[in-house]
């Protein structure tokens, strides 16, 4: 009896997992160029391959499952391929695309994969509304969400990626736009290497190791991104390494260990960003003289800026810890704002000093520093600190219970105190 039951269960299970009525690879093989291949709902095991200009269209419940350690779907040596509305899974990569001119990927779901989409040597690629969720493991054991190598003219928009190594990894790509994506719980939100002419707009990066990692890249615009909660070991909101010509505008950079760090970089403009509650807002090492941070708002950061000997320029920024006044009433503080602090500079040289961040001793040291360094003229000094800041104050709600508890605690302690004296 048990055996029969087991067998029945087995068949039930099998019939659910394998949808035998439709052969996906066969359908692809017989399709003529330009045709739409519709894949009905069901789960299909295999390693499928597309080598001609067709559209693969799934529906709710269409799932391709990659077998062994090979990708679920490969697209190679062709032009104008579209894939939409499909769920992909498997142990390895979900989709690998090589040598394709004109690729569209839309509305794809990828779960528990090692790597989501791997694209190499392609042109005119558009990736939209893809969800990638990686496996639960340390990021060193995973692959990337969307990875693009040696390609040109790429658009990546509206994707949601979590739990992978690098959310969007880009290497040796010309002309790329990354916009309105959301990457969380990964190593790097977006990682650009050896890339030129790149734009990252309106993206949200939350709680990765680093939000935007930009390396060996030229000509880049980072605008209107929200980058928050990168506060783990070695966490940065943005890290620019060996980057030339970058514009960083209108971003909100909140609650990171280091907001924006620049290393070995030149011609970087950091304008009109909001730096809030970062442990260190701005860091620069080996950056060129023309690196400029202007018209930003610095609020609630423990350390506003730190650098090596070279420093960088600060201009027209608002600092909430600026202590000067504006007698001329022109909206600009009368005395310069000095961001340099001995502790900040030490921390750049020797990382072990991080232990002392905001410790009582450093607090005292920094306030002494600010008195001494008032004479500092060149390094990390803003001669025209802005005073007023447009600020949207959040309305706080009154918490009656907490108030009553507090009142009770205060009054009863006072009463006890009084009683302790008189009795």
């Amino acid at each position: 009896m048990k055996k029969i039951g087991m067998a029945l269960l087995f068949f039930l299970f099998m019939s659910q997992t394998v949808y035998a009525d439709f052969d996906v690879q066969e359908a692809i093989n017989v399709a003529k160029p330009g045709e739409i291949v519709h894949i009905p709902a069901g789960r299909y095991r295999g390693n499928f391959i597309v080598t001609k200009p067709i559209t693969l269209q799934g529906e709710e419940g269409t799932e391709l499952i990659g077998e062994s350690d090979k990708p679920a779907l490969r697209i190679e040596n062709t032009t104008n391929v579209s894939v939409e509305n499909i769920t992909l899974s498997g142990k390895s990569k979900a989709i690998v695309v090589s040598n394709v001119d004109g690729l569209k990927l839309r509305k794809l779901q990828m779960k528990d994969v090692h790597t989501g989409v791997h694209i190499q040597r392609c042109k005119n690629v558009r990736i939209q509304e893809i969800n990638v969720t990686g496996i639960e493991d340390h990021y060193s054991q995973k692959g990337n969400g969307l990875a693009v190598y040696k390609s040109e003219d790429i658009t990546i928009e509206g994707n949601t990626i979590e739990q992978v190594q690098d959310g969007i990894y880009v290497e040796e790509v010309k002309r790329i736009v990354v916009q309105r994506n959301k990457v969380t719980s990964s190593r790097y939100g977006t990682h650009l290497m050896y890339t030129s002419d790149a734009k990252a707009l309106f993206n949200t990066y939350v709680h990765n190791v680093t939000g935007l990692m930009i390396m060996m890249t030229t000509d880049i615009l980072l605008e209107n991104n929200t980058i928050a909660n990168h506060f783990d070991f070695n966490g940065y909101g943005m890290l620019l390494f060996d980057v030339q010509q970058a514009k960083i505008k209108h971003n909100t950079i909140k609650n990171n260990r280091t907001g924006v760090a620049m290393q070995k970089s030149s011609t970087i403009q950091i304008e009109t960003n909001d730096f809030q509650m970062n442990q260190t807002a701005l860091e620069g090492t080996k950056v060129s003289n023309d690196t400029l941070a202007s018209s930003n708002n610095f609020t609630g950061n423990i350390l506003t800026a730190r650098s090596d000997q070279q420093g960088f320029q600060l201009k027209n920024n608002y600092y909430d810890d600026y202590s000067g006044i504006d007698l001329k009433d022109n909206g600009v503080g009368d005395i310069p704002y000095v961001a340099v602090s001995s502790f900040g500079q030490w921390m750049v040289r020797q990382p072990v000093y991080q232990y002392f961040v905001a410790s009582p001793s450093v607090l005292l040291l920094t306030s002494l520093d600010q008195q001494i360094n008032k004479t500092e003229k060149n390094m990390l000094v803003d001669h025209t600190p802005k005073l007023a800041m447009k600020y949207v104050q959040e309305k706080n709600k009154m918490n009656v219970v907490q108030m009553l508890v507090g009142l009770f605690l205060a009054l009863s302690s006072l009463w006890l105190w009084k009683r302790g004296i008189t009795e």
């Binding site: 340390h138 190594q165 190791v209 070695n234 890290l239 390494f241 060996d242």
Partner: protein, 150 residues
């Protein structure tokens, strides 16, 4: 107070003393180790390098290129020993004894295209599967032009 100072100094002495002489490679801690030069966290362990400094500190690198850049910037005088991972066996080997293979199409974390092996045979074996490359030794790395090559 004097006692304190003495004990602190003694501790310093002991700590310095302990770490001199031999320079053993240390394990990679993936949670915290980042490349000293480029700041990337070390996840592709098979390409990682490390330098044991004479003062007992360790610096980790994600790619042999970054390691060589550090050597160039800081001079070899401060370096006690330098190690690179054998790309095939994933074991630490001394950079001086390693055999290097370069091919611009080999992928490495910084895409410099140079991988290290413990012997010529291992390098040959790698080349039969990954494509022919140019054999280099440690001296060649000093004037090697790091960066991607078109």
């Amino acid at each position: 107070m004097k006692k304190w100072l003495m004990s602190v100094l003694l501790c310093c002495g002991v700590l310095v003393g302990c770490s001199e002489k031999t320079y053993e490679p240390r394990e990679i801690v993936s949670e915290t180790d980042v490349c000293k030069i480029c700041n990337m966290s070390i996840v592709h362990n098979a390409y990682a390098g490390q330098i044991a400094l004479k003062n007992g500190d360790y610096e980790m690198f994600d790619d042999i290129g970054c390691l060589m850049e550090y050597m160039k910037a800081n001079g070899e005088d401060v370096v006690g020993a330098a190690y690179i991972k054998d790309a095939a066996k994933n074991e630490w080997i001394d950079v001086i004894n390693a055999v290097y293979v370069y091919n611009k199409d080999y992928w490495t974390p910084m895409n410099y295209g140079v991988v290290a092996f413990d012997s010529k045979e291992a390098a040959q074996e790698w080349m039969t599967t990954e494509g022919e490359g140019q054999l280099l030794d440690y001296k060649d790395l000093h004037d090697f032009k790091w960066g991607i090559h078109k």
